[in-house]
Symmetry: C2
Subunit: 175 residues, 2 copies
């Protein structure tokens, strides 16, 4: 249900083509939710069939035609309904944890190398998140207001990456 919510939420801010939505997704919700263009297009078809979004085909001169989707009244109602339903916390579901859990067969060297590789990735992600957070902080208050909710999620992202980093360092030293 989360992708549906995500797409409705993106369309609530601004209408757009599948392609445009995917780009907005990648630089926002995409930091903590994943999708592919295939799934996004599928979701948009589904929403259209359900009558929750309107779709207008726009011809362009130098670019291929595009389908611009926009939220209609029924879609807005559905978005509100989804927002009202309680969300339940999910598990971490990171394959690294399964590997470490089952890792007694693997030597310490291999595990340490894997943890180090993850550490580097999380370090990069943390740097990115901090940069994005700083950028939001620099905007005038009026603009910052519009980014308030996304900014809240970014802060969890930062805390998580910090936790990953600290853990990788701690257990890397112990392995």
């Amino acid at each position: 249900m989360s992708l549906k919510l995500a797409v409705l939420g993106l369309l609530d801010v601004e209408p757009g083509s599948g392609y445009a939505l995917l780009q907005r997704f990648r630089t926002s919700l995409g930091f903590f939710w994943q999708t592919t263009h295939q799934q996004l297009y599928k979701e948009l078809h589904g929403l259209h069939e359900e009558g929750l979004v309107d779709c207008e085909t726009v011809s362009q001169e130098t670019r291929p035609d595009k389908k611009v989707y926009s939220l209609n009244a029924r879609g807005a109602a559905e978005l509100d309904a989804l927002l009202t339903k309680a969300a339940t916390p999910t598990k971490i579901r990171d394959p690294l944890l399964v590997k470490i859990f089952c890792g007694r067969r693997l030597g310490s060297d291999a595990l340490r190398a894997e943890v180090e590789s993850h550490r580097r990735k999380h370090e990069q992600t943390l740097a990115l998140y901090r940069m994005l957070h700083e950028q939001i902080g620099k905007r005038p208050a009026a603009v910052r207001q519009r980014y308030h909710h996304p900014e809240l999620t970014l802060r969890l992202g930062i805390r998580f990456e910090e936790a990953w980093l600290a853990w990788c360092e701690e257990i890397g030293a112990e392995l």
Copy 2:
């Protein structure tokens, strides 16, 4: 692939029936990976078809028959192969984040209530993890050795729950 790895890993420690494996799963790997009995049984059927596990039907007097699965040489090789493949980090994928991201339509009251409900759940989970961690710490060194890898994953669990808690408190106060 992670469930496959998880099941092979569990069988590597000790053979067991689907039912027994599920119970071991729930009190260990299940803290950060999810599964249902349906999926576990399906996975076991698959592993058996692939010839990675052996299966022996055991009749019991007062209990229904059970199928005891055990890792064979091919399964052990497959486990090693899976352990050697690098794992890539995943996204958080928690529906609460999607909701908050799209939450400008929802009032602050509703969001605050939802965050508070999550805070309570994470508080409970943290308490559980800390208790489990303490229990491991109390065991004699020889036993602790066997729980070393699981204990490492538990420590990430604790860090994550702490991050969730701190974040819920922070943004709950701000909303």
